[in-house]
Symmetry: C2
Subunit: 317 residues, 2 copies
DNA sequence: ACACCGTCTGCTCATATGAGCGGAGCTGTG
DNA sequence: CACAGCTCCGCTCATATGAGCAGACGGTGT
């Protein structure tokens, strides 16, 4: 792999040729003419230059996206999109800001006029939409009800409205909580005109950005907002992740339960029909949730930070 | 030149493709199949990767030869060989050792069984032969008489004998000083059987290593060994360099004078007929001498250190 | 609505390139 | 000396690649 070249004259010759080829972009034939060598000799010297390490090729860029991790994540988990932001940041709010920025750029890039965008409520999704600067003209569909938390002023509705305004497309939004005390209330809510209208557009959604929580206290806004009984019940059913109201177990299989009926949100089947579903997970505690979400096939795009990406890759046995 | 790419997804895609192409050595067609793109798209992304600086190609190596300077020296002065040793060393003896090593490797590399090797007396040449470890079997011809200096034990004869022994080829050597007091003595010496024999082989020499001095006190062993009158006379004639006994002016034209007749060495015409003549100059004071020697066309190979190489290149207007 | 312009795409076709072959020269060995 | 094994070279021929072109698209000004 690394036997270095022969003598110093050949070394200089090889370096000159390598420069002509790689830096100046000359063809091997031209170089052969210039140096009075056969093109085969030139090719062999260049091969040697590569294998001996005389010519080193690096792939990197000035931004904060870790290209190598991104590509590995994408390939390893068969994702459509993977963006890994290289940052040592651990403070959740700051992290959301960075990931939101990256996700916003991604969304701007991948959403075209043919798409229908679905947005779920999540702090990371808000962080994204807040930093959106441009978006193709598309309908924007609210995928979930909202949760009100003291630390967040923007709600699911605002998030959708803001994005639709930026886009210039229609907004399908509604005022409803993400989770209600019983199935009956949920059913009634789903009958409401605005809610029903939004739901009717779920099938048309082609790209969505969703929240992703680990089914544990402090790792999912939904978990924290739900009654202990429901949480426990879902946990017993093997739920490890909630994807904007869709519960999945460690194998990635969606879990149906009475609790599911109390959630005002897109369901597993509908989510599965969406072409691209992007989540923005962060924090090492979410490793298993991400794994489950990806296994489920419901989520096929990830925007995350390097520590979580590394953890995901490390644990692939 | 450096507009960086579009969005993050394309960035990751481009990086993945660049890795496949440059690192894994896949063809663009294969990559196109793998990523479901046209080969044109792949080619365009790769072009973009290069021009945006995403892919950086460096040419360097672990040794102490400055490949870039070597190549530039070679190209700028139209040399057959140029080896620039990258060293901050300024102490002449240590420098000779380093350059001698590089020159020895060069000689080992470029001398083939078809060659006839000529060696002139010079400290740098001695430094080279001392570090020679292998050499094709070739005749070795002594090109100059020797100078005896208190700081040097090896003389021209030993240098040739040692090299011939290492090579396994015949040695054509003689005992005579490099410069004698008058032309008559010189003529007589040239008649001596061993001297005449060696001289008769000058025409057959295909590769030679010579000394190169700047015509000033302390910059040429020959200058220092010669009487003041002769030195001054040559200087008046415009001599700026001596190439193992061949004097050349700043334009590179060999200078014939009465002093020339007193030197027991290869002459300008004979040296000019040699295919490759390599010199091992060092020290910034020799800039003009090197320039003259190269202009003369007598010397077409240089082994030197980076400061001198840089000085030579800097002063090219 | 219209023509216009810049961008992006995939095409054709000439050229550059790679894989693998057989010959030349060198080396060590019986 | 003869021979096998080796490296190095340049060849053929199939394939990969680049240059330049023309159509498609999206935005833009009239």
């Amino acid at each position: 792999m690394e036997p270095i070249t022969g003598g110093p004259a050949q070394l200089v010759l090889t370096a000159s040729i390598a420069r002509r080829y790689y830096v100046d972009g000359r063809s091997k034939v031209e170089i052969a003419d210039e140096f009075r060598l056969s093109r085969f000799k030139v090719a062999r010297l260049l091969d040697q230059a590569r294998s001996s390490g005389l010519v080193r090729i690096e792939i990197s860029h000035p931004g904060n996206v870790d290209l190598d991790l991104s590509a590995r994540l994408q390939e390893t988990f068969g994702l459509r999109r993977a963006i890994v932001v290289d940052t040592p940041e651990v403070e959740p709010a700051a992290l959301r800001l960075q990931l939101g920025k990256a996700a916003a750029e991604l969304l701007t890039e991948i959403v075209t006029a043919d798409d229908v965008l679905g947005l779920a409520w999540a702090r990371a999704v808000t962080a994204m939409t807040d930093q959106l600067t441009s978006l193709a003209t598309v309908p924007v569909v609210q995928l979930t009800g909202a949760l009100t938390r003291p630390d967040v002023e923007a709600n699911s509705v605002e998030l959708v409205r803001h994005t639709a305004r930026l886009s210039g497309g229609p907004a399908y939004l509604f005022y409803a909580p993400l989770v209600v005390p019983d199935a009956t209330t949920a059913r009634a809510l789903r009958q409401q005109p605005e809610v029903a209208e939004a739901i009717s557009h779920f099938d048309a959604v082609t790209k969505a950005v969703v929240g992703l929580g680990s089914w544990a206290a402090g790792q999912s806004t939904l978990y924290d907002a739900m009654d202990a009984d429901a949480c426990e019940q879902l946990q017993k059913r093997g739920v490890v992740a909630d994807i904007s109201g869709v519960f999945v177990d460690a194998k990635g299989v969606p879990v149906q339960s009475k609790v599911t009926d109390r959630v005002i949100a897109i369901n597993a089947e509908q989510m599965n029909a969406i072409d691209e579903v992007i989540a923005i997970p962060y924090g090492l505690a979410k490793v298993e949730a991400v794994r489950a979400a990806v296994r489920s096939g419901l989520v096929n795009g990830i925007v995350t930070h390097s520590p979580l990406a590394r953890a995901l890759l490390d644990e692939v046995y």
